[in-house]
């Protein structure tokens, strides 16, 4: 429930992606009360924005929504969405999280998610949730399967025409809503703030985001999603059905010049997945993956890779050095094939960059947590206790502690809930002892 009256919990979870939701559920099922603080207007993290997920190719939404709903409806879990974490400190044996809720300009308690405001709003805004490919309105429910289903007004684009206020059946619109600050206290905290992708804009070799039809992998997830912007896969610049599609792997990973020297761990598999989904959607398309190594290391992943090869997806071992616009909206790649002769070029109707994963959150100035050279959070004992942090009573899981796929994220989240549960149990036992002695 999105509710903010009660501010004392056993645990506070920062980040409501799949890691945060799973650990919240595993803690609540052990009997503890949990607050989940999420910066977006909906929980679900990256996963709810994906199309289908490897290696089982089940629909991302179908796996995420039950967990989102279970958390939202759990008696012991409270969701605080659209909230920024201002500080997280340990004082007097408690964790204190200072949180600021951003204004939605919609009263969360009144909104029934009927979308009348969205239907009637005259202002079209590019929809980030659809990769920027289709419009939404200046006031809208974040996306179809968002939880909670509460409209958010975009103050940058709103013209204050007042239509939403008139049509809202529950008088939920509040143009004067202010940010609201409050403090959550808990005995333990879990940091599950996940990842972001590096941005295209700062990559001269990839045209700084100005090459038409060169998109990132999250945008392709939207094109492939059943409720995507076009309901099918089309080339964004001209709506053409693409015939030749390229994947550029390690575009910003394993490459110091791009600032990300490590492996982002999930890109091989999502590229293969997208390629398979594409060849399902566009049976005649030619799909090529330019890669350095295919890292299909998880359970069932190697077979997934073999299946993709059998389906006729081309794998070219090469590092793509530069990309430039080609004729008629095409994308031209320059690459050095490792088993060919030197530098070659190829043209594709469309190309997808498998950009690197970077942490979504930097603890600096907010709480004294340690990060590694890759800037992700770090456990002092990554082998025996991968979910520990340098702060007592603070645990972590998921992509916040290094890039990770969903399966690994979910098990790690379970372990974080175990570690936090143990800590809480020990606290209870020692306070019971104190009680006996006193």
């Amino acid at each position: 429930m999105d509710n903010s009256r009660n501010v004392d919990f056993d645990a506070v979870v920062i980040g409501g992606g799949i890691a945060g939701l799973q650990s919240a559920l595993d803690l609540a099922d052990q009997g503890y009360t949990v607050a989940v603080v999420e910066k977006d207007a909906s929980v679900g993290g990256k996963m709810i924005r994906l199309s289908k997920v490897f290696p089982t190719l089940d629909c991302a939404s179908c796996i995420t929504t039950p967990k989102m709903a279970a958390a939202a409806h759990h008696d012991r879990i409270t969701l605080f969405t659209y909230c920024d974490l201002q500080s997280l400190r340990r004082t007097g044996g408690m964790v204190r999280a200072e949180v600021q809720q951003k204004p939605r300009y919609v009263d969360a308690h009144k909104c029934i998610g009927c979308r009348q405001c969205e239907y009637n709003c005259p202002v079209m805004v590019s929809d980030r949730e659809q990769g920027g490919f289709s419009p939404t309105k200046a006031i809208a429910i974040p996306f179809s399967n968002a939880i909670p289903q509460i409209a958010v007004l975009n103050p940058q684009h709103c013209m204050l025409c007042g239509r939403c206020e008139k049509v809202c059946p529950t008088q939920a619109i509040d143009y004067f809503q202010e940010p609201r600050s409050f403090t959550l206290t808990a005995k333990v905290a879990l940091i599950t703030t996940g990842f972001e992708m590096t941005t295209l804009g700062d990559k001269p070799q990839y045209g700084r985001g100005r090459i038409p039809n060169l998109i990132d992998a999250l945008q392709m997830e939207r094109l492939l999603a059943p409720h995507g912007p076009y309901n099918r896969v089309l080339r964004p610049s001209d709506g053409k059905v693409p015939d030749r599609i390229a994947y550029i792997q390690c575009a910003g990973s394993r490459d110091k010049s791009m600032g990300v020297s490590y492996c982002s761990r999930v890109c091989c598999m999502y590229a293969i997945k997208q390629a398979m989904l594409l060849s399902g959607a566009l049976p005649l398309a030619d799909i090529t993956i330019y890669y350095m190594d295919i890292r299909a290391f998880g359970k069932g992943y190697e077979q997934f890779f073999q299946n993709a090869q059998a389906m006729g997806i081309n794998f070219v071992k090469a590092k793509v050095a530069a990309v430039e616009p080609g004729p008629d909206g095409a994308v031209r790649l320059h690459y050095e094939a490792q088993d060919g002769d030197g530098v070659s070029t190829a043209e594709h109707d469309m190309a997808v960059l498998s950009l690197g994963l970077i942490p979504a959150w930097n603890p600096e100035g907010i709480c004294p947590l340690a990060t590694g050279p890759d800037h992700f959070l770090e456990s002092p004992r990554p082998k025996l206790s991968p979910v520990a942090t340098v702060m007592e009573g603070v645990f972590t899981a998921g992509a916040a502690v290094g890039p990770k796929d969903i399966v690994d994220t979910i098990t790690e989240a379970g372990n974080a809930a175990m570690a936090a549960g143990k800590y809480l149990a020990a606290l209870r036992a020692s306070s019971a002892r104190k009680h006996l002695v006193a």
Partner: protein
Amino acid sequence: MTQAKEKEKQHATKVGVYICHCGGNISDHVDVEAVRRRLEKVPGVAVARTNMFMCSDPGQELIAEDLKNGVVDRVVVASCAPSLHETTFRNAIRRAGANPYIYEHANIREQVSWVHHGAAATEKAATLVEAAAAKAGLLRPLTPIRVTAARHATVIGGGVAGLSAARDLADRGIPVTLVEKSPCLGGQLARLDRIAPTGERAPELVRALADAVLNHPHITVFTDAQVIATDGYIGNFKLTVRQEVASEAFTGTEACYIPFSGMRPAGPSPSEPREFNLETGAIVVATGFRSYEPRQGEYGFGDFASVITLPTLIRKMAEQDTEGSFLEIDGRRIRSVAMIHCVGSRQIPGIHPEDASGRLNEYCSRTCCTATLNAACRIRETHPGTRVYELYRDIRTYGRGQEELYEQAARDGVVFLRFEPDQAPEVVRADPTDGYPLKIRVTDTLTFSENLEVPADLVVLSTGMEPNDVSDLVEMMKLPVGVDRFLLEVHPKLRPVEMPVGGIFVAGTCQAPFDVGETCNAAGAAAVKAASLLAEGHVELDPFVAEVDAERCKGSGACVEACLNPGALALVEMQIGGQTVRRAQVTPALCLGCGACVAVCPENAIDVCGMTLSQYEAMVDAIVADQVAADALR
């Protein structure tokens, strides 16, 4: 119950029907209002309402209000797929103080509005909702089966996964018995030295974990022991454990660490084998892996003494632990070592031969790339005179700190050659003039498929992981096994550490290859599920299990014969009307609810609660009702 009686009951119930617009998802194709009007007129339906989003709080509130006001006592929601919101609505009903099992779901989005259009979509939606209402009219309140659960867990396997899970559970105050087959704790980690990428010493990690377990007041450890029989069900398993006489006498009064074996607990083992029983509430299976054993002749293995496996190399390097310009193995100076990746992993049908039982290891073993690079870096660091070649297919240094190891290896002068699976390197005896005992012929795709020969004093095969043979446990506990022969979880994302039999969990490399950190995560994830299960001292199970109508049952025993889960159904003697008769009896905690018994009962005396035959018949009747009406007009 007679049919007439059931009809009567149907009319006595007050069904509330709630139809969702799903913000246009449904109402763009189905005339929701028309469906509502049609349902309103159905006998037994007390109210029919619509809402923009039934799953929203206001939508759920509609149901709660009607229940609280006594307007309805059965609920049908027509909305999206039940997988999304069936529990949402059951919980809403529970919160309103009613029994959650008076609920039936009609799927008019995924199975109507998203697949059909126009008037026909509305017609079908209405019919499906009528069918759901017909079933709802026959639903009875049910109570979840409450099974008391022994506050005790058993962990099978004492590797990292087992040790870690045992400690987690014990720290939560749950008594644990750990059963380890070998004389020592630590599993395969005890056979390693410095582990990648942290450089920690494996013996220290094993010791730390094993000490914590052996000194834990809530953990009892049995080594040289195995589970030989299982019985019972979630919360109430009965295990028989057999402990053997230790192969080597050990009488130490303190636990001690034996290099390359693991931690040997204190005290003598029994002087003769003994068997004992355990009552336990949950089981964590953590039986781990074994290293792939190359076939005779595979890359020269068995043919040449200087072809060894990676685990052997790790052991030999650790045991001598010398420094010096050149690595020495078995007293031989190694000027050049070639390491071949993916041995016994990533096998491809048609390229790799199957093993004796016709199987291939098609999976990647996940840890060997990094372990191989780790060994290579170590050699280059401590024995700079020894040249190292790595022959690989893909370098899979996916994890944190692993890519750095790859870079370090390249920096330290490890030479990488990449081969295609259908052009596997060949290990052959070198010519006497070559000055080396062996050479490896390889087509290197990194140098435009040049054919190269790598001279070698030592060839190391990076052997992958295979699951330990646990066919006895698989058989006894009905554990599913994947095509890769590892234990198969229910669902990799929804229920990643659960086995289909309630109360049994998997942890670690018995499920799939993992490194140590990932193994600990899996162990914690399994432990948290077991802890949640045992926290309350009882377990609640879905009430969708078979139920016998003792009045109708004649004791034919047909159901017992058809039952798929031995123990769930039995004929027992009971007193009815002063006579001793044999009647079928269900053990709810064991019943799978599949209904195999229902179909065979000659007396219609057994049904699965919440999905009875008459409920299905009522749904079919509703589906054909328009036809029946049309026929009647003719």
